[in-house]
């Protein structure tokens, strides 16, 4: 039987608050832990820049772009619990907005502003019907929006290139030209680092906590005064803006966009990536992004491209059932166990 007695004695005087050190929001990191994280981060950034050949640099750039999208889905699904099958749709909206404006000669800053504006609108449009929904209904609404978007793409050929897709001019921001592998890498990495910092910061805000409570118990959220609708909308908008920017970067780096890049399966793969990596962790989002970009290459090189879908489906089901915190969660508990038994 687990102990059910309370840790405070009945006759205790009110504790002297000053005597007990006030806890910070998160457990303090040891200097060694901080050092490990900083060194690891610098290495992760510098190694590709210094050692990777061109092809792998382009892949790394795409990983960074996709990481922004998976971070957005982490916020929407991992943190707020809204299972959206429209994340690739949001990417597509950003990618095509960037393409259309870019092909009209608009500067990257204008493209970015337009991408953000379009993403906000699309995100709001998808969010509104979902506000009172959960589970399958919510997923189906997002799926329906995705299908509609794909239909629009195919039926607006003159503007978007239709089902054939469209060549996108390489993104050029200042001295950074995406057709140069190293610069493509930087163009993808810098926004991705910003997005990562934003999501890490979110963890220390009341907004971030609201999202968690909305996910875990809408009833408790109501009882605590959390504005549930506002929280869900903000979550959707964050997801769509992140994905829109990710799509824009992807188009400018990859050089080509087409409807299959942003269809239902692309959304499902984004979900797979997020769940495998760990839906609640920033590191998990990066792991997921690496999975999306690198694994298809690996399987194609092995001659069994179909394995990507197969492994993805199997992993999604297995990880969801057996390791709800994803690979990162597994790693963390393994490290925790080893530390405890050491």
């Amino acid at each position: 039987m687990t102990s059910t007695s309370l840790p405070v004695t009945a006759q205790a005087a009110p504790p002297d608050v000053a005597a007990v050190p006030a806890a910070a929001e998160k457990p303090a990191r040891s200097r060694r832990q901080t050092l490990v994280v900083v060194v690891g981060l610098l290495a992760a950034i510098a190694v590709p820049a210094l050692t990777f050949p061109a092809f792998w640099l382009f892949l790394a750039a795409q990983v960074a772009a996709y990481a922004i999208a998976t971070l957005g889905l982490n916020v929407l699904y991992g943190r707020t619990g809204q299972l959206s099958l429209a994340q690739a749709t949001f990417m597509g909206a950003g990618a095509y907005t960037g393409y259309v404006l870019g092909s009209q000669g608009q500067a990257p800053l204008v493209q970015l502003l337009a991408v953000v504006a379009v993403s906000l609108v699309v995100g709001a449009v998808v969010a509104v019907p979902t506000l009172r929904l959960s589970g399958l209904r919510l997923a189906l609404v997002t799926l329906a929006v995705g299908e509609l978007f794909a239909w629009v793409l195919v039926h607006t050929s003159p503007l978007t290139g239709g089902s054939q897709g469209a060549n996108v001019e390489p993104l050029v921001i200042g001295p950074l030209d995406a057709s140069v592998p190293l610069f493509a890498y930087l163009l993808g990495l810098l926004p991705a680092l910003l997005a990562t910092a934003l999501v890490l910061h979110l963890d220390r805000t009341q907004l971030g906590r609201r999202m968690l409570l909305v996910r875990d118990s809408e009833l408790a959220a109501r009882a605590t005064g959390v504005p549930i609708i506002q929280t869900k909308i903000v979550s959707f908008l964050l997801a769509s803006v992140f994905a829109g920017i990710a799509g824009w970067l992807y188009g400018g780096i990859n050089g080509f966009v087409s409807p299959p890049d942003f269809n239902l399966f692309a959304s499902v793969y984004l979900l797979v990536a997020v769940v495998i990596g760990g839906a609640r962790s920033v590191l998990g989002a990066w792991v997921g992004a690496a999975y999306i970009v690198v694994l298809p290459q690996v399987f194609t090189a092995l001659g069994i491209p179909n394995l990507y879908a197969l492994v993805g489906g199997a992993l999604l089901a297995l990880v969801a059932l057996l390791a709800p915190d994803g690979l990162v969660g597994l790693a963390r508990s393994a490290v925790g166990r080893r530390r405890r038994t050491a």
């Binding site: 209904r137 609404v141 239909w151 499902v268 197969l310 059932l321």
Partner: protein
Amino acid sequence: MDGLTQVLAGGVTQGCLYALMLLGVLVVFQVSKVMSFAYGQVGMVAALTAWAVTTVGVPVALALVIGAAAAVLLNGAIDVVAIRRIPTDRVGLDLVVTLGLFLLIAAVMQQLVDSNSHSFPALGADTQTTVLGARISVNDAAVVALAVVVVTGAWLVLSRTSLGTNLRACAEDADIAASTGIDVRALRTGTWAVAGLLAAVVAVAVASRVAVDAFYMTSVLVKVFIAGMIGGLDRFWPPLLAAVGLGVYESLAVATFGADAGVPAVFLLIIVVLSVVPKRFVLDTSEARA
């Protein structure tokens, strides 16, 4: 032949297919409280398996039986291997797990068969006949007849037999049902198996009309879910009628706006319906009860 009647006949046929598939969704949902996103793929397995064995010389009738058997086994296996392991307190996990199975099954079939789309034997879809003054295909007539028979049969079983009573008891409260001696697990898996058969039938019927590939049943499944949500997943007749209505709606939209209008008509409807129709059932554990 009056154009409108033709359109309606086509719509009713399509709607009957939706209704048959929805029947499988309904019994599975009511007995195990799960909506399987992989259900369409189970049907696809039946059709693709049947197609594949016909290419090696197996006669069509036998191929259909083999395909149906595969679907029955697969859906039952999904319940035993995956669904049973989902803890009841994890809300929404069934969707994620069945999404994974959806991908997995499609990928496996693509590996075992191939990734191309194929045409299925017509099964009477190309033979015209006249019923009540309307010219429809034999396949269409068979579908409608089958739907009526199966749905009526299901209703009779559910309301008039002891099996039906046991099923409804399981649907109501599995724990209480188990305590009265009902083998809940066997009933559940049996329900999934029968649903597999229904998926097989529908998938084969759809296959006789469209090209078959690893994902062709996805849009059918989505529409079936919608019809279920319109009518109420805890009911019987309203959702089935909604399914037929959806088929008619789709047919009318296409007739009015052209073949391309099918997708936006249905998916716009989905968005509107899901936003507006109130939740009729509580999926999550009881909250704030007296």
